[in-house]
């Protein structure tokens, strides 16, 4: 922001923008009179932003020409036309300069033209067009009207943007309390707002003033019966608690917290004489259904152009619809710990829903009665907007002139709901083992693996296990003498077990050497042959998987 004074040869504390034609003046005057480094009664103009990521850092940066149009002390000659004015230099007819460039149909246009005699008389520009004398500036809402109607009859104007000097809204609330007498125990603000508000609050009662500030930053005031006052962005907080169990025949009914509206007129704060910031948005579907137009007027000081007003109106219509579904739920037992502002899980016939407690009564009989509203972000705003009709006089800027262009705004509220239903399946896994060949230990009696095995349960200790057959048994030749069979290698055979010799003789053995089976006894067959053509295990080895699962237990999330 910048403050300006009118140029005077003796005024060495002049602050002026360096851009545009002023450069030359600076070069010439600046060579003899140095620009001061400290100026009393000046304001630093910076951009103040909160970064929209997890860090939520606040950043202060230098504004540049795109962000702000410096209002230069230079005056322009104004000639009135129908729905437009012509601007020219004070003493000749060329198109004048603004913001560093000569005004033309393609240059950037000044936001406002400000009366050189009275700064509250301002005109909002709409377009620039070339003309043979000066430049033509189109104005909105001026057809058939002259500037005299507004009491503006100066022939000279400044061009640029106006700035109000205010305070951060949270600081302003604290400041209001520091000056006023009040009986509150404590006053606190939560969080730092990034909205700045400039408003004269002389002779305005504190609650009205704070609600007005709240409409700028969507904060809301909250006070309890102990006299504590809080000004905070969110009064609703999650409570890890369910609300249900009505005692006896408790009744639940729909009890809207605000009047039903199917047409909302949002009036913004105009800053120019020809501003018309009143937008009316209709919910035609609701109007048709209800058979009547129910209008509500909202004044939103943050609205400074038409599209913003339309957004506000559309949003308020949507939230108004939501607020119609507010519930009154009575006779709850054991609910003495709830407070207004708690978000609870409300048990009802249609399932559990998230509801915010707006009002409640705890009675001495142990019953609690609740006024609930389906919780949604932005709820604070609707309570702020609909809650208070008190208005702060800003008639100085008011512009109540009829429009020349009638625009019709319709709003249709359609909804898409995104729902998630979740489940968990837990299944015990008794044991698991990656696929491997049966080991000698596992293949001991009575757990020999053989044949086509799909399942196998250990008869002793340990987990049940599964096995896949057929395994492969080595087929080798050998010779027999006494109780010993000699082969080239016994690799792959169990330490004791059964053998088939030449596919017809069945023997058992009790010991195993590197090349010998010992303790060989005939089990069936005629006799043990001295020379054995093929010798193989009676029970081939299996591939063991061992992966046993129990019953699945399903739980709803």
């Amino acid at each position: 922001m910048m403050a300006y004074t009118f140029p005077s040869p003796t005024n060495s504390t002049r602050v002026a923008p360096k851009a545009g034609r002023a450069n030359a003046i600076h070069d010439e005057i600046g060579a003899v009179a140095e620009e001061p480094t400290f100026i009393d009664n000046a304001v630093h103009h910076v951009r103040y932003e909160t970064t929209q990521d997890l860090s939520k850092k606040t950043q202060v940066s230098k504004p540049n020409q795109e962000h702000f149009q410096p209002t230069h002390p230079r005056r322009y000659r104004l000639t009135e036309e129908d729905s437009s004015v012509r601007l020219a230099h004070l003493d000749h007819e060329d198109a004048p300069f603004f913001n560093g460039e000569q005004m033309s149909a393609t240059s950037s246009r000044p936001m406002l033209l400000i009366d050189s005699q009275s700064h509250i008389l301002r005109l909002r520009t709409q377009s620039l067009s070339d003309t043979n004398k000066g430049v033509r500036v189109g104005l909105n809402n001026m057809r058939g009207k002259s500037l005299d109607v507004f009491g503006m009859n100066a022939s000279k104007v400044h061009a640029g943007q106006i700035v109000s000097i205010g305070m951060r809204s949270t600081d302003l609330v604290e400041k209001l309390f520091s000056k006023g007498l009040h009986g509150l125990t404590s006053v606190s603000t939560a969080g730092q707002s990034t909205q700045f508000v400039a408003q004269n609050f002389n002779s305005i009662v504190l609650p009205t003033a704070i609600r007005y500030i709240g409409r700028n930053d969507h904060f809301i005031m909250y006070y309890d019966r102990f006299g504590n006052f809080l000004y905070a962005p969110k009064i609703f907080k999650n409570k890890d608690r369910q609300l249900g169990n009505q005692r006896g025949v408790g009744e639940t009914k729909v009890n809207p917290i605000v009047e039903v509206a199917n047409r909302i007129t949002v009036k913004g704060k105009g800053i120019a004489l020809n501003d018309s910031l009143s937008v009316q948005v209709d919910d035609s579907e609701a109007q048709k259904k209800q058979g009547a137009i129910k209008q509500m007027r909202i004044k939103d000081p943050t609205v400074n152009n038409e599209s913003k007003a339309r957004v506000t109106a559309g949003q308020l219509l949507r939230l108004n619809k939501k607020a119609q579904g507010a519930l009154q739920s009575n006779k709850h037992a054991q609910s003495w710990d709830f407070e207004p502002g708690d978000i609870v899980e409300y048990k009802s016939a249609i399932g559990n829903t998230k509801q915010a407690i707006v009002e409640l009564t705890h009675s001495s009989t142990g019953e609690s009665h609740f006024q609930l509203i389906s919780y949604e972000a932005g709820l604070e705003a609707v309570i702020n907007s609909f809650g208070d009709d008190a208005d702060i006089d800003d008639e100085k800027d008011a512009t109540d002139y009829s429009n020349q262009v009638v625009s019709i705004n319709k709003s249709g509220v359609g909804s898409i709901v995104l729902r998630v239903r979740g489940g968990i399946d837990v299944r015990p896994v008794a044991h698991s083992l990656s696929r491997s060949l049966t080991t000698d230990t596992n293949n001991a009696s009575p757990n020999h693996h053989a044949g086509m095995l799909l399942g196998h349960r250990n008869s002793g200790y340990g987990a049940g296990r599964s096995a896949l057959a057929f395994g492969i048994s080595p087929r080798i030749s050998g010779s027999h003498a006494g109780t010993t069979i000699t082969v080239t290698s016994t690799n792959g055979f169990a330490s004791s077990g059964h053998l088939i010799l030449d596919d017809q003789t069945f023997v058992s053995y009790s010991g195993l050497g590197a090349t010998t089976f010992t303790g060989v006894t005939l089990v069936s067959g005629a006799s043990i042959p001295g020379s054995i053509g093929t010798l193989r295990m009676l029970r081939p080895r299996a591939h063991e998987m061992r992966n046993t699962k129990g019953l699945r237990i399903r739980r709803k999330i």
Binding site: G423, I424, V426, R427
Partner: protein, 115 residues
Amino acid sequence: MPMLNSIKRRLVEHLATLVNELHVGSDGTIATSEDGGARTLARVVPRVQILDDTSILVEGVLNSSHVFSKAIQEVYLQYKDANTGEFIPVYRADIHSLTKSAENEVRFSFILEVS
């Protein structure tokens, strides 16, 4: 006015591309819509399947190889861009405490419905 089914189908198709990670975590605090992540114990790539014009199924399995010393107390779905690392939290639920050992396997399934 009602929203039309065709756009719901389109949203469902888009939604199916917006879930590519399922996390289980150890943070049991109550889930709110302001949550932005989980205290992750493990992350699996879930199977995402469009069931019909209004719903998708997201399913993730933790087999017996997942063993955690802390109990699972939350499940969290998110979209993560493999190139930029940018992530968008999609869903978080706090669940009854569950001990994940080598002796159990857990399957999480979610139906996301646009209606």
